[in-house]
């Protein structure tokens, strides 16, 4: 299969994962963001990466928008930029534009101004989002089946300072802590505080649970629910 030409504008979580998935599938990908750090982060993994403000018409002209099979506008936080970019792309003769919407009204506007496809990843994540709003301490859920799930949950206060063994989650609730995600703070060169996420996979029973740890928990949804309510 001949590689197609893609351009991804906006390298947030969604844009980045689309760009990487396309690159992995051996497609030609130009990745664009106005934030230098985001561009640097991805440049080794895609065909080309550019720092650019996509709402700047002159700049947009230089990339030859009409050469791409698909242009993905993955700007979500800033509706105005998303709309302006989509509009400019269509005016400059882009073949196909897929834009990401952050809300119903945003989606409606994108369709009106000529986006060929509007995706609403948030809607597909609706279940996760709803869960997150109901229990803000839950960060992610992977449903393994109707009855089993893996959830990421902030360590409840009652478990802080306890080892996994002493926490008794396995004996009390029949659930397993399969990993711990921990932010480790340090000083940056400039003397500010920064941090790094460390993931402890299959933690030792003697591992201590610290404040703010995210526990990746595997168990039946019923047991996880029980754990959430009681701890």
């Amino acid at each position: 299969m001949e590689a197609k030409q893609f351009c991804v504008i906006g390298l947030g979580r969604f844009g980045r994962s689309v760009a990487l998935a396309l690159a992995e599938a051996n497609q030609e990908v130009l990745a664009i963001d106005r934030n230098e750090a985001k561009v640097t982060e991805i440049e080794e993994q895609v065909s080309q990466a550019l720092i650019m403000d996509s709402t700047n018409e002159k700049a947009l002209k230089t990339i030859g928008v009409q050469d791409f099979d698909w242009i993905i506008v993955a700007i979500s936080s800033d509706i105005e930029s998303s709309i302006l970019t989509t509009l400019l792309l269509k005016e400059l003769g882009a073949k196909k534009v897929l834009s990401k919407a952050g809300s119903e009204i945003h989606a409606k506007i994108l369709k009106k101004i000529g986006a060929d496809k509007v995706v609403f990843p948030e809607r597909e994540m609706g279940q996760k989002v709803a869960e997150n709003l109901v229990s803000p301490k839950i960060f992610d859920i992977v449903e393994l089946s109707n009855d089993y799930a893996i959830v990421e949950i902030v360590a409840p206060k009652s478990l802080e300072g306890k080892t996994i063994r002493d926490s008794g989650v396995r004996s009390k609730y029949g659930i397993y802590i399969i990993a711990i995600k921990r932010n480790e703070p340090k000083f940056s060169d400039g003397g500010n505080i920064t941090y790094q996420e460390r993931v402890i996979i299959a933690p030792d029973p003697a591992e201590e649970i610290l404040k703010g740890d995210i526990l990746v928990v595997l168990g039946s949804t019923q047991n996880i629910e029980r754990f959430k309510e009681n701890e």
Binding site: G12, V129, P185, K186, F187, G191, I193, K211, G212, D213
Partner: protein
């Protein structure tokens, strides 16, 4: 001791508490700074970082917003806030 000097010391001490993962002590000091100097943006920013580290995202967002209200061009706070707004 002048107010500025005192506040600066408290913030530096709080930072050391954060890197030693003594978050409650750090939080206490930074809040004390805000009692002495309610508009101290550095204390607000560091509280944002502290809450982000311990995954208290709502409170982290709250403090980064306070920073941006006072310093609309603060890129660091903006980046943290953007990151926290994503699901």
């Amino acid at each position: 001791m002048s107010k500025e000097f005192n506040v600066h010391d408290l913030i530096e001490e709080a930072k050391f508490y954060i890197v030693s993962q003594k978050y409650e002590e750090a939080e206490r000091l930074l809040k004390r700074v805000l009692e002495i100097d309610p508009e101290n943006v550095e204390a607000m920013y560091n509280l944002g970082i502290l809450y982000e580290i311990i995954n208290d995202r709502d409170r982290a967002q709250e403090y980064f917003k306070k920073v941006i209200d006072r310093q609309p061009t603060n890129k660091d706070a903006e980046e943290h806030l953007n990151k926290l707004s994503e699901f």
